[in-house]
């Protein structure tokens, strides 16, 4: 399972030696290692799946800042998983040289970039590929090779991205839960472009704030991060899915507006090239925070968001017309205890999805995280029907250094 072709790796190593040779001071080493256990109370529906798993993860980080303010960052990542060979994976999350000048910032190397404002679905975020094997919440991303120049002025920030190499999405493998009945065969990946993963993708983004408004306007041209999954069979006659990555144009807008304790958020996109029809998708809603509830130090946040995709049932996501509600509780104690409970309801069917994420620190270095996800009333035609038995309880203990 090659993460990067050897040419890219060789380039990174050479760049690494070049940068290391010029170090003078302030080496900073941090990161985390962790162990995780997953338990699936319901028996597996698909052949090869396990009902529990244990896993280990490491993500060290090396950082160096030069006198000039320019810097170098290196963040490798590795996970071992007892049940799913696809989830056992290595990645370079970051390998970036930041060149800081008076008029601009230039970033070269592998990086992660986030765009967007909403909490439940990150619709317009497109620069990095999703590391779906890592976690189904789609918040983990693969490092993206890029050159990015950024200009910050009084009138806003302008970013230009050149993305010379495409990263394939990771998928849950045969042994893993939270997948479709047919596994995705990443060896048979198809591309619309003849250049395949070497197609040069481009993006630009303008962002600024105007008083209580934050606005981001972006254009992406290149390989869709989201594959269209084609049905096929393997030599043994088992059903499989083949990812096909198309060439798309995506125009997007993201907004947030703060008014007192209210935060209003919205994201919208228009995409052409994915499937036969152009489409719109949007998501938006609010977050309201009650401070010091019940005469305590606790903060209670209430989240409401709506997600819509004009392709409706043909959509390549689970969120074609869904309403989400969430409650976020922050204890504001010395252990930074936090919990987020969420509920996503499909508006076209009875399908719903519930989740709970909680975390608490022990001492100065240990962080305990628990996640619970469950799928209810999935009708047979629903996007997540194949995952109806994949209620998951996950607990992770990580040591931060």
């Amino acid at each position: 399972m090659p993460v990067f072709p050897s040419a890219v790796l060789r380039f990174l190593i050479t760049l690494g030696f070049f940068i290391t040779a010029s170090f003078s001071h302030a080496h900073e080493f941090s990161g985390f290692v962790g162990g995780e256990a997953r338990l699936f109370p319901n028996s597996a529906l698909h052949l090869g799946q396990k009902d529990d798993s244990i896993s280990f993860v490491a993500q060290p980080e090396y950082y160096h800042e030069f006198e000039s303010g320019s810097s170098f960052t290196f963040v490798p990542f590795y996970r071992f998983d007892s049940a799913d060979r696809e989830r056992t994976h290595f990645d370079i999350r970051e390998f970036t040289f930041l060149w800081l000048k008076e008029d601009f910032e230039l970033r070269l190397g592998v990086r992660k970039v986030f765009w967007g404002t909403t909490e439940i679905l990150h619709l317009v975020d497109i620069i990095n590929q999703t590391d779906l094997a890592e976690n189904v919440d789609a918040e983990d991303k693969l490092g993206q090779p890029m050159a990015n120049i950024s200009f910050s002025r009084d009138w806003g920030t302008f970013d230009l991205y050149w993305l010379p190499y495409f990263r394939e999405r990771t998928f849950v493998g045969t042994g893993g839960r939270l997948r479709g009945s047919a596994v995705v065969d990443e060896d048979r990946t198809q591309y619309e472009s003849a250049a395949e993963e070497w197609h040069s993708d481009w993006a630009f983004r303008y962002s600024h704030f105007f008083g209580d408004w934050d606005v981001g306007l972006a254009q992406f041209v290149g390989t869709s991060r989201e594959p269209t999954l084609l049905s096929d069979t393997d030599p043994e006659g088992n059903a499989i899915k083949i990812p096909r990555y198309e060439q798309i144009l995506q125009t997007s807008l993201d907004l947030s507006f703060v008014s007192g304790e209210w935060l209003w958020k919205g994201e919208a996109l228009y995409r052409t090239g994915q499937g036969n029809d152009d489409y719109f998708a949007w998501t938006g809603g609010f977050e309201y925070t009650f401070t010091r509830v019940w005469n305590s130090q606790m903060d209670l946040g209430v989240i409401g968001e709506w997600m819509f995709d004009t392709r409706e049932d043909e959509a390549t996501t689970a969120f074609e017309n869904d309403l989400a509600g969430g409650i976020r509780l922050a204890l504001n104690d010395s252990a930074s205890t936090e919990a987020l409970f969420g509920w996503v309801q499909d508006l076209n069917s009875s399908a719903r999805f519930l989740f709970l994420e909680a975390s608490r620190r022990f001492g100065d270095h240990l962080l305990l995280t628990a996640e619970l996800r469950t799928f209810l009333n999935q009708p047979a035609d629903d996007f997540l029907f194949d995952q109806r038995a994949d209620e998951i309880m996950q607990i992770e203990l990580a040591y931060y250094f």
Binding site: E105, F114, T117, D214, V258, L263, R292, N332, A335, R361
Partner: protein, 261 residues
């Protein structure tokens, strides 16, 4: 004509100085204005702070934060707070544009997601990082944020102090009033007693280990906040103050928030 100007200027001189007819409110405001004037002109500074949180049982935990502050003429300061410890929140950064009146502009950078999030700053009475300091205690203090009333002059540990009350203007404050002990020579705030919304004693802040910077500005090295209602306390220690380090507006935007370390 000259005579008229002379009379006018004498009248103005008397008007501007404390006089028998000055009310306690006017005197309180005059003290706050003088304090603010003495604090002006620092331009910018960087400093490190360590907060030690102590609960009723005496158990301790600590937070390490680096701070960058830029003075903004005619408005509140801009600041960048970078969290170093605990390690799981390392790199989390808060960008704050304080305003003399109204809510501040605040953005939080979450390094794990590389996400910049606008956050609501309307309610500043919430705890800062789980400590006994509220956001409203740690953001820049502006004259306009309170109304004032001078109470008395008092000697405190050999230092002659003004004792005055200040009443938060903003409606979501966690306090009805604060009683401030300010030394008359250098205008150092030695102590503040905070009263909650029900006017019950809530917290006491004691500041010590003052040092003078740039031959002008007195900053405390130690800030001790004690909560009388919960028995918890927070000891905040400042170190490595560096003034006029060349910081400018460029260091306080969303791009610098993302790369702050």
């Amino acid at each position: 004509m000259k005579r008229l100007i002379y009379i006018l200027s004498i009248a103005m001189f008397f008007n501007a100085s404390p006089s028998a007819s000055e009310t306690p409110e006017e005197k309180g405001l005059a003290i706050a204005k003088e304090d603010d004037k003495r604090d002006n002109g620092f331009q910018n500074f960087t400093a490190n702070m360590v907060m030690v949180l102590k609960n009723r049982q005496g158990e301790e935990s600590s937070r390490h934060i680096r701070n960058k502050t830029l003075e903004v003429e005619g408005d509140g300061d801009k600041s960048l707070s970078i969290f170093d410890r605990p390690r799981d929140v390392k790199g989390t950064t808060l960008l704050n544009f304080t305003h003399k009146v109204g809510a501040d502009d605040q953005w939080l950078y979450l390094p794990a997601l590389k996400r910049v999030k606008r956050i609501s700053s309307a309610n500043k009475s919430g705890s800062f990082m789980g400590s006994e300091f509220a956001y409203e205690d740690v953001t820049s203090q502006e004259v306009e944020k309170y109304t004032y009333k001078w109470i008395r002059d008092e000697d405190r540990e050999g230092e002659k102090c003004f004792v005055f009350e200040r009443y938060p203007v903003y409606k979501n404050s966690g306090y009805t009033r604060q009683v401030v002990w300010l030394d008359q020579k250098d205008y150092k705030i030695l102590q503040i007693k905070f009263y909650d919304r029900k006017n019950a004693p809530l917290k006491t802040l004691t500041q010590s280990n003052f040092k003078q910077y740039l031959d002008k500005y007195w900053y405390p090295g130690t800030m001790h906040m004690e909560n009388h209602q919960t028995g918890k306390s927070t000891l905040l220690t400042w170190s490595d103050y560096k003034f006029r380090t060349g910081l400018s507006d460029k260091n306080f935007n969303k791009n610098s928030l993302k790369r702050a370390r």
